[in-house]
Symmetry: C2
Subunit: 419 residues, 2 copies
């Protein structure tokens, strides 16, 4: 059995690790050490075929950005999802998750994987729930069946909500918003109705077996993430995080790459502590955050509010930002929403990377500022995060070395002439 | 001579202070103390007429948002600026600055003031420079003439770049971006060419006399604010900040209300320290920040990057956020840009207010989350920062108690049914 993790432990530089080492300018020995310590993961299924760029996620690397796509019961259109996929990749997403819960989930996924040149993630419990419908079939058997099928298709990483255990249930009573994770809510309903322990926790070893076989990276889901700032960093959330720490250790022991998902709705002042706790409980496993959203009242702009939290989280050490779109909490995003979401998350990630002193981050800003000091509009386009938007907005606004904002009263020009 | 400051020192509750006390739910005695200590200002010119809502800015109050409007040499259209003004007010700006440098500055301003029900600020050095043109008339005489005229029209607060002194000039040599403040660059060119000290520093007492006469609040400008993250918190910036601290003290001694302007381009990790330094050097004078921008490469999205910095600054104690628009660094914003800029700055301010524990801030999020837990789309519209955008996006996406994102797999619904 070989995974990126077991290979790193043997001191072997895989093809994908070499690729990451080059793109991130991290010496191979340092990268191998970080992978074998579980601080960096390279999600790539052994069954992956076709164009693929290996992406490393974790400490010392550039902060990565994930874009969620996928159909909903209300809207199932594979073409539309493939369009979102392409838009996300063009806008610079480092990974994509297919969260489809509509029709034809299997075919949809196969097409998405074939078209996705970056790590592709899923949340298998969604499909398991769809296939079980309202029957009693929702359980470990159906889940493992879906997991195996998805792994066979080439999915690179999967969200697994094994960290919700019965011990957390009483802690939820104090919450304002209860549970806002789709997978989390399904499992809690099942646990409450059956009286049993979470089957993803009880049968975690079976999940690990499949993951090891395909080198499927586990993204341990935060089913109890807070759904409003009042619920942030509460006992229920921390209970799950401690369990995730234990499960992360078991994954590593099984040679399985693992990262940890995080909140959610968190006031700005608690974000750094949330990152610190994850790194402590989960022994520096890569931290994959959703937002965090530092306010609950930005609906319509949650992509923006989430990126504020994302920038602060990345600066504090979060490794992987899940984007939000303007339609978060409202409806299924379209391709424009996807583009906007990816760009904002990338800006947040870059702001974090400046603080992390990630290789090459500050240099971009420096080159941009040099170009700006020369009022060289074309040169600036090389360094901005979204050249397309920059060029659209600047169309006609610049005139030689000034722009329509200040005209001849350009501060940079006046200062340049001041001697 | 009466100003909000001198009245507070006498223990008098002015009409405007009463209004602020009510809208902010701050007890009158506490507000009077804060105004007399210079920690809160209420910018309102004695000549102000017509509809006006008094706005307090400073410690313990809600973080305020300013929108810049104004013509440029390339684009002078009073109607367009009045449109931007209305859009800014409708979007929730707490104050507006008219930065016009185009044609008919005087008439433009008179119309803007008449239509502006919030504090209106200007940067008089712009008009002084336009009127002097390339002649030797640029100096204190022309400046005081403009200042007096603007005060007579009813301007409520003015940016005054008195803090740039000759001592700072050698410190600029080390900079990558030099000086990016319009007023700052004009004064430095004048200082270098004349060999004299900054006339706004030398004749500061004359400025204070006019300010006291009209109760014109001074916003001491940061002419040496960093123009790229490499230049942040450097010796030149701190030199000016120390001078501003001295000038703030002299303003208070003269009964003049004063706030301090701040950066600019600042890496995320230096923002909190920038706020702390301002509060220390300027004895808790209200801090009015432009951004800050934690990256230089977000052109096209600087309103967003600036609001990331703004949220962190507000959380650290900044009192007043100057918005940026998508066209910052690129061209003159239009009305849509203004709207977007105001909303993003308001979200940033609110995120800061949650951390500051400003009266009423957390309650909004709590009410929103309660409505969300009931999937009550109409109720949520009452609490979101931008109901117009929310209602636009939600149009048709919601169906009874679910939305097109998750359909029946709505986590909130499933959890609600889990017993």
């Amino acid at each position: 059995m070989k995974t990126q993790l077991t290979e790193a432990r043997r001191g072997n530089l895989t093809e994908q690790a070499l690729e990451v080492s080059r793109s991130e300018r991290m010496p191979p020995a340092m990268l191998i050490k970080a992978i074998s310590d579980g601080k960096i993961v390279i999600p790539v299924n052994k069954k992956r075929r076709g164009a693929f760029k290996a992406v490393g996620i974790g400490g010392g690397l550039r902060t990565k950005v994930n874009a969620n796509i996928g159909s909903s019961p209300q809207r199932s259109d594979t073409k539309e999802e493939l369009k979102k996929l392409n838009v996300a990749i063009e806008a610079g997403a480092d990974a994509v998750m297919d969260l489809s819960i509509g029709e034809d989930i299997d075919e949809n996924r196969v097409q998405i994987i074939e078209s996705c040149p970056r790590p592709l993630g899923t949340v298998p419990i969604y499909q398991a729930a769809r296939e079980a419908g309202d029957t009693a079939d929702f359980g470990i058997k159906g889940f493992l069946n879906v997991l195996k099928r998805q792994a066979e298709d080439g999915v690179d990483f999967v969200t697994i909500h094994s960290g919700i255990t019965r011990g957390a249930l009483p802690l939820l009573e104090k919450r304002l918003m209860g549970v806002v994770s789709r997978g989390g809510s399904m499992l809690i309903r099942w646990m409450r109705q059956s009286g049993d322990e979470n089957f993803l926790y009880q049968h975690y070893d079976d999940i690990l077996s499949i993951a090891a076989e395909y080198d499927l990276t586990l993204s341990l889901g935060d089913g109890l993430r807070p759904g409003c700032i009042d619920d942030a960093t509460d006992e229920a959330q921390l209970h799950e995080l401690r369990v995730l720490g234990e499960l992360a250790g078991r994954a590593r022991d099984a040679g399985v790459q693992v990262m940890i998902e995080g909140p959610g709705h968190v006031p700005l002042g608690q974000i750094t502590e949330n990152v610190r706790l994850e790194k402590e409980y989960c022994k520096d496993a890569p931290f994959y955050v959703l937002g965090p959203l530092p306010t609950d009242i930005a609906a319509g702009y949650d992509h923006f509010a989430g990126a504020i939290g994302g920038a602060v989280a990345a600066a504090a050490g979060a490794d992987f930002l899940c984007y939000l779109t303007p339609r978060e909490h409202i409806g299924l995003p379209d391709a424009d929403d996807v583009r906007e979401g990816v760009v904002l998350a990338r800006i947040a990630a870059h702001i974090g990377d400046i603080e992390k002193n990630v290789s090459g981050a500050v240099e971009k800003d420096r080159k941009m500022s040099l170009a700006r000091s020369k009022r060289d509009w074309n040169e600036m386009a090389k360094y901005v995060i979204d050249p397309q938007r920059y060029l659209e907005l600047i169309g006609g606004e610049e005139q030689n070395d000034i722009c329509s904002m200040c005209g001849e009263l350009c501060a940079v020009k006046i200062y340049g002439e001041s001697g």
